[in-house]
């Protein structure tokens, strides 16, 4: 029997109700014959057999009034309204009376007001015993059951007499009605009726009532109750064998609680059953003298299926629920309180008995909070675990996920090595997405330990599943455990390219796949990854990797992308071409030069604008391979390629680097090519020198000599240094040097002097030719000097003549109108005569001959301009720097009188004019007009001196311009001057035609030397600056001037180009009129002494001298001449006379490259200009 019951607990505490704050038992009910009871709204209502209604409140105060004359039989308290329905008898044997009391309304005597009094069977005086009453909570239905089996239904407002229709008999049976209950649902109202032999459902519609017999067994009185919503508002009937549940449409479950039931009560989900235990003998109750039948009160928890309480209570009269507790009214008139324990206590009791499932159900049904439930699950889990039921335990622990710290569970199962369970738990964790990395790791480790590939597959490979774990950790674990496939899958799925490649390359070593994978990546990713793994790929799958790189560096698109972007088809902008720079990948090819070569070749072919690094690298590759290639054919092939690269690469590669590379690998062809390309002719030459390939040297010189004539010089010194016999080459070189006038002969000789093999025969021709040229030159110069001297002499005599003798004006025609001259007329010393009126109308001023004026003015202007510009030091220096032939510039400046004191010309204008005046006066007496003549005389007087100064001082104009100008002024002078130019013109026919201002042209031949030896030019350029500083030293300028005038001819001509010795001179003269003219003079002046230095300079300075003292008849050997003569040791002289001691010689020997350079310091005083 015992095990045919539910589990029994003691969830209620039974206590006898006592007075508050005392231990005295509540005993007020002792003398009351209770006939009915009800409870609700804070008080218990009792009815007694004397017609009283008694109210018992919380403080156990009893209060009451008389409601019926005879007795109260039924009380029904509404739950939602403070209204009581009572049935009782006012008269014996008559129709019972229904009274409705409103407890909120009190009448005068402070009793509840009665709102309705109705007879149970209206309109009938038949005796009837009411056995049951039910009132619907909405107050519009009331059912009364009678002993005779009839049930009447009152509808309408049941609290009032009015409005309520007359009752309707809904059921007529033969057996006593034992219970009534309304069940309200939205659709229907059902009245359950239980009689002693049936259970009936009365479906109450709006108009009709339909009854349905649910069962043919009934129950005794008080044994029917309606349950609450937890049991679906079923109608519960207690019978001896069981408790049956009924639904409106039929019988429901039944619970086999045996025993003779006397009372059924529903209390908050509990079914309270009072049974008469027939078997138990009446017991003696302590403290009371009388024996009573003991009833058993059992409280069932229907939902959770256990007995919450069970205890004997003497003769239960009624069960009352109020004040949160259950009260049992015992036959001993004591009130027993059944206080329900709180949930926690109940749970603890269950835990003690390890009834966790029940505890959980209980907690759930009591709406226990979630945390509490988790606690239960945990305890349950712990319990199961300790019992060894790991599967069960894990099932419980799974429910705690989210609250309970997972490590608690994990540790338990880890220690126990229950990996299966652990796996389940971890899976659940992941399912709920609260797993952290460690959990993932652990789970995967579990899988791998269990070798449960299927689960692992499921966990990882499920494609559509959302990832509920840390991908990276998962990959790590998979890798570690050797489940590379899984790791790969994950990496691919989650775009962890890096991982994918790592696994593919380092673990699986499927390089091809890795590469393929990379090709599907986006550009940037592809690039990064190929950078990272390129080396491995290159060593393993060189071919494919190279191909990929080619693509990557040209126009990259992920491999799985369609060739033509759909967006471009639909008119969108084409995506920009993505390409990686080649340089970044070169290092990948570290050990794979063949591939690198291929790659680079491709890149260069595709993108010619590649950076120099590529070209360089490729070149290096070629060269390197070439150097290591032993077979001849491939070697040649490589060589060809390298050359092709050098030649076609335009200037993409870095020449310097290429050169270094070529040199490192001694790729001669390349080196030479590069030298040539870089215009490093010297290097080419050196290269060949190093290799002693004489023919090549000569070849080089020939080829590049035009660009860099110095090559010849170097070749010479090279050959000179050679001990071997290389005469033919020397001859060749010499001829070139000679032809191009590259080196002074002295240097040549000196150079060759070091060579023991170079015999005289080698240079004999050269020297002879040179000397010959020198001689010719000298002769020529001397001739000119002589010429100039003569001219000068003539001029001087003319001047003298003009000063001393009278001038005759014999012109018969006017120079203007060409008519016979008539008085008044104006005569000019320049042999022009005019009618006065003609003169007046033509002359711009009275003092100048209109015919000669333009010419004169020209000359004057030139002189003036030169005067002005002579002080412009900056300009001078600039010119000097720019000029290729410093000498000519300096000479030119001398010509302009740079070193002359102050303004010589103005002096010469004023002073001569005055001094001459007297002379003129005598002459102008002839002209009719005295004043003009005077002026003219002044002019004419002024004129004569001018020719001289102009001729002498500013040599340039005299030669070209003066020839015409000078005669203009003075008729006397005219003749001689005119003759002079003519003579000169014969000598140097071109001269007059060129304007004197030009001074640069002559160097046309001289540049080569200066060019070939840049340092020297600079030296010469800088020299004059220094020397120019001390212009006051009369001597020096003079010397300088000598040096200056001569050098062009002296220095260069003799040595340089023997073939055209005259020409340079003439050109010089022509170009720089200034220097040349004096030069001639100087020649003539020097003539005889054999030293031409001084006279040239004489011209500028002598003009000064002459102008300063014009009257003084020029002494034929002018001061400079004397100087020079006294200066007999002039370096030039030495040069020519004794070569050995020549400063040049020293220079060249001391500093081969710069024959002019170093002697400055030494020779400064003697010949500063030379440097």
């Amino acid at each position: 029997m015992a095990f045919l019951q539910w589990r029994r607990f003691n969830f209620f505490d039974k206590e006898v109700v006592k007075y508050p704050d005392s231990t005295e038992i509540f005993a007020k009910l002792k003398d009351i014959d209770i006939t009915a009871s009800a409870s609700g709204r804070g008080q218990v209502t009792l009815g007694d057999s004397e017609g009283n209604l008694l109210f018992l409140d919380r403080n156990l105060e009893l209060d009451g009034f008389k409601a019926y004359e005879l007795r109260v039989t039924h009380i029904h308290q509404l739950k939602q309204h403070n209204i009581i329905f009572t049935i009782g008898q006012d008269e014996a044997g008559t129709n019972p009376v229904i009274k409705v009391w409103n407890l909120d309304k009190r009448d005068k005597s402070n009793n509840p007001s009665c709102s309705r009094i109705t007879r149970a069977l209206p309109g009938s005086n038949a005796t009837a015993n009411v056995t049951a009453i039910a009132v619907s909570e909405n107050l519009n239905m009331m059912a009364i059951g009678f002993q005779d089996g009839a049930v009447t239904l009152f509808k309408g407002d049941v609290t009032r007499d009015r409005h309520s229709k007359s009752p309707k008999v809904v059921h007529k049976g033969r057996m006593q009605v034992t219970g009534l209950a309304f069940r309200h649902t939205q659709r229907s109202n059902v009245l359950f009726i239980s009689t002693e032999n049936a259970v009936i459902a009365c479906h109450i519609g709006a108009k009709d009532v339909r009854t349905e017999t649910l069962d043919n067994h009934g129950c005794s009185s008080h044994c029917a109750v309606i349950s609450d919503t937890t049991q679906d508002n079923q109608f519960v009937i207690g019978r001896n064998d069981a408790v049956y549940f009924y639904q409106p449409d039929g019988r429901g479950p039944c619970l086999a609680f045996e025993g003779r039931k006397t009372i059924l009560h529903w209390f908050r989900g509990y079914l309270v059953v009072v049974t008469k235990d027939s078997k138990t003998i009446p017991r003696q109750i302590a403290g009371e003298g009388m024996s009573r039948m003991m009833d058993t009160v059992t409280v069932y928890d229907i939902q959770n299926k256990f007995i919450a309480y069970s205890a004997p209570v003497p003769e239960v009269l009624d069960i009352i629920q109020e004040w949160g507790s259950l009260y049992v009214l015992g036959g001993d008139r004591k009130l027993y309180q059944l206080q329900e324990k709180d949930t926690q206590t109940k749970l603890e009791m269950l835990f003690k008995k390890n009834l966790y499932v029940m505890a959980i159900n209980l907690a759930k049904s009591q709406h226990y909070d979630y945390d509490g439930l988790i606690d239960i699950f945990t305890q349950y889990g712990d319990h199961l675990y300790s019992k060894g039921d790991h599967d069960g335990a894990i099932a419980q622990y799974k429910k705690t996920i989210g609250r309970l710290e997972p490590s608690y569970v994990i540790r338990k199962f880890l220690d126990a090595q229950r990996i299966h369970n652990l796996t389940a738990y971890l899976q659940e964790l992941h399912k709920q997405s609260i797993a952290n990395e460690d959990h993932t790791t652990l789970l995967l480790n579990c899988y791998t330990k269990l070798k449960d590939t299927n689960k692992l597959d499921e966990f990882i490979m499920t494609k559509d599943k959302d990832v509920d774990f840390d991908v990276e950790t998962a990959m790590k674990v998979c890798r570690q455990a050797g489940y590379f496939k899984h790791a790969l899958f994950l990496a691919e799925k989650h775009m962890q390219h890096d991982w994918y490649l790592k696994v593919q390359l380092e673990d699986i070593k499927d390089y091809q796949k890795a590469l393929n994978y990379i090709t599907t990546l986006e550009f940037n990713e592809a690039m990064d990854n190929i950078k990272k793994y390129g080396k491995i790929l290159m060593t393993e799958v060189p071919k494919e990797a190279t191909d990929f790189l080619k693509v990557l560096c040209t126009d990259y698109k992920p491999a799985d992308r369609p060739l033509v972007d759909p967006s471009t088809l639909s008119g969108g902008m084409p995506p920009p071409i993505q390409r990686a720079s080649v340089e970044e990948f070169i290092h990948i090819f570290v050990n794979n030069s063949a591939q690198l070569m291929e790659f680079l070749e491709h890149m260069i072919k595709v993108q010619t604008e590649s950076s120099s690094q590529i070209y360089n690298t490729l070149l290096e590759l070629y060269l390197h391979d070439m150097a290591h290639e032993t077979e001849k054919r491939p070697r040649l092939e490589l060589e060809r390629k390298a050359m092709a690269l050098l030649q076609t690469g335009e200037t993409r590669y870095d020449i310097d680097q290429a050169l270094v590379l070529c040199q490192m690998h001694s790729f001669q062809k390349g080196i030479l090519y590069l030298y040539e390309k870089a215009q490093l002719y010297q290097q080419i030459l050196h290269f060949h020198m190093e290799h002693d390939s004489y023919d090549q040297i000569i070849e080089d010189c020939k080829r590049y000599g035009n660009q860099d004539p110095n090559l010849w010089v170097q070749a010479l010194s090279y050959f000179a240094a050679k001990e071997e016999n290389c005469k033919p080459y020397i001859v060749e070189v010499l001829s070139q040097i000679d032809r191009r006038n590259l080196l002074p002969p002295l240097l040549v000789i000196q150079t060759l002097a070091h060579n023991s093999t170079a015999t005289l025969s080698v240079i004999k021709d050269y020297i002879v030719r040179r000397l010959q040229q020198e001689n010719d030159q000298i002769a020529d110069d001397e001739r000119l000097i002589k010429q100039y001297r003569e001219e000068t002499k003539k001029m001087k005599s003319q001047i003298e003549e003009m000063k001393t003798s009278a001038k005759m004006f014999q012109v018969s025609k006017c120079s203007v109108c060409n008519h016979p001259l008539e008085l008044p007329s104006v005569h000019f010393l320049c042999q022009h005569s005019y009618h006065q009126h003609c003169f007046e109308s033509y002359a711009e001023n009275e003092q100048e001959c209109p015919a000669c004026l333009p010419e004169n003015r020209k000359v004057l202007d030139i002189i003036k301009a030169q005067e002005q510009s002579k002080d412009l030091h900056e300009q001078f220096h600039r010119q000097l720097e720019k000029s290729q032939d410093g000498f000519s510039v300096v000479a030119d400046y001398f010509g302009r009188g740079v070193f002359n004191k102050v303004t010589l010309l103005t002096d010469s204008f004023s002073s001569p004019s005055k001094s001459v005046t007297p002379v003129q006066r005598s002459q102008p007496s002839q002209p009719s007009r005295p004043p003009p003549p005077s002026a003219q005389q002044v002019r004419s007087a002024a004129a004569p001196p001018r020719p001289t100064p102009s001729a002498m001082s500013a040599a340039p104009r005299p030669q070209g311009g003066v020839s015409t100008q000078q005669p203009v002024k003075t008729k006397v002078t005219r003749a001689p001057t005119a003759s002079m130019p003519s003579s000169r013109q014969q000598a140097l026919p071109q001269r007059p035609s060129t304007p004197p201002t030009k001074r640069t042209p002559p160097p046309s031949q001289q540049p080569p030397p200066t060019r070939s030896m840049p340092p020297p030019t600079q030296a010469t350029a800088s020299r004059p600056i220094r020397t120019a500083d001390p212009p006051k030293r009369v001597q020096t300028p003079a010397q300088q001037s000598q040096a200056r005038s001569t050098p062009p001819t002296k220095e260069y001509n003799p040595f340089d180009e023997p073939s055209e010795p005259v020409k340079p001179a003439s050109q010089q003269g022509r170009g720089t009129a200034a220097p040349v003219a004096p030069a001639r003079r100087s020649y003539s002046g020097v003539k005889g002494s054999g030293q031409d230095a001084q006279p040239g300079r004489g011209s500028p300075s002598s003009t000064g001298g002459q102008q300063a003292a014009p009257r003084r008849p020029p002494t034929p050997p002018n001061p400079f001449g004397e100087e020079t003569s006294s200066d007999g040791k002039n370096p030039f002289g030495e040069e020519t006379s004794s070569d050995g001691k020549n400063p040049f010689g020293e220079e060249t020997s001391s500093a081969g490259k710069n024959p002019f350079g170093d002697d400055i310091d030494e020779d400064d005083k003697n010949n500063p200009f030379f440097n």
Binding site: L4, Q5, A242, F257, K305, V357, G392
Partner: protein, 212 residues
């Protein structure tokens, strides 16, 4: 939930064969290892779908204890189908089948569809009753046979649904009088509008109309 038909089932068999677990598995899709004894008769319901018709199964789970037999017997009546369950690991439960069958036949309508179920098929290792024996018994008594596991849910659905199909087929064949609730078959609410028109005394061949 509206339904076309309501079928009443009853689950019978010795105590501990897993009747309540079958029900729990079928209605709640869960398995409770610790299950209390059924005291009296419990009740479960679930909707299923057969041939596009919603059918509500109302299942009475009876106590297997001999002492409750009197109570449970009253539930045989008005059941359209019965699941007669035995435990394949306990031969005695198989041996009692005859008694159960007699009981059922005696107290139920003759048309009741009875499904013989050998439960606990997951405990293959402890099997005591061969499947063939079960099949043989079923053949012999004209029952449908199936082995199930309430724990793993194997065949549980099928057991209930196949029974329902069988009943449904019988309805189609007109074997059942759908208007007699004593047969354990009830028409759904939507059919109520049709049925009142039918003469109440008209018996047989009305299943076809019910589904029309």
């Amino acid at each position: 939930m509206s339904y076309a038909y309501l079928f009443k089932y009853i689950i019978i068999g010795d105590t501990g064969v897993g009747k309540s677990c079958l029900l729990l598995q079928f209605t709640d899709k869960r398995f409770q290892p610790v299950h209390d004894l059924t005291i009296g008769v419990e009740f479960g319901a679930r909707m299923i779908n057969i041939d596009g018709k919603q059918i509500k199964l109302q299942i009475w789970d009876t106590a297997g204890q001999e002492s409750f037999r009197s109570i449970t017997r009253s539930y045989y009546r008005g059941a359209a189908g019965a699941l007669l369950v035995y435990d394949i690991t306990r031969r005695d439960t198989f041996n009692h089948l005859t008694t159960w069958l007699e009981d059922a036949r005696q107290h139920s309508s003759s048309n009741m569809v009875i499904m013989l179920i050998g439960n606990k098929s997951d405990l293959e290792a402890r099997r005591d009753v061969k499947k063939e024996e079960g099949e043989a018994f079923a053949r012999e008594h004209g029952l449908i046979f199936m082995e199930t596991s309430a724990k793993t849910a194997a065949n549980v659905e099928e057991a209930f649904i196949n029974t329902a199909k069988e009943i449904y087929q019988k309805i189609q064949e007109g074997v059942f009088d759908i208007n007699n609730e004593a047969n354990g078959i009830k028409l759904g609410p939507q059919h109520n509008t049709v049925n009142p028109a039918q003469p109440s005394g008209d018996r047989g061949q009305q299943g076809g109309q019910g589904c029309c």
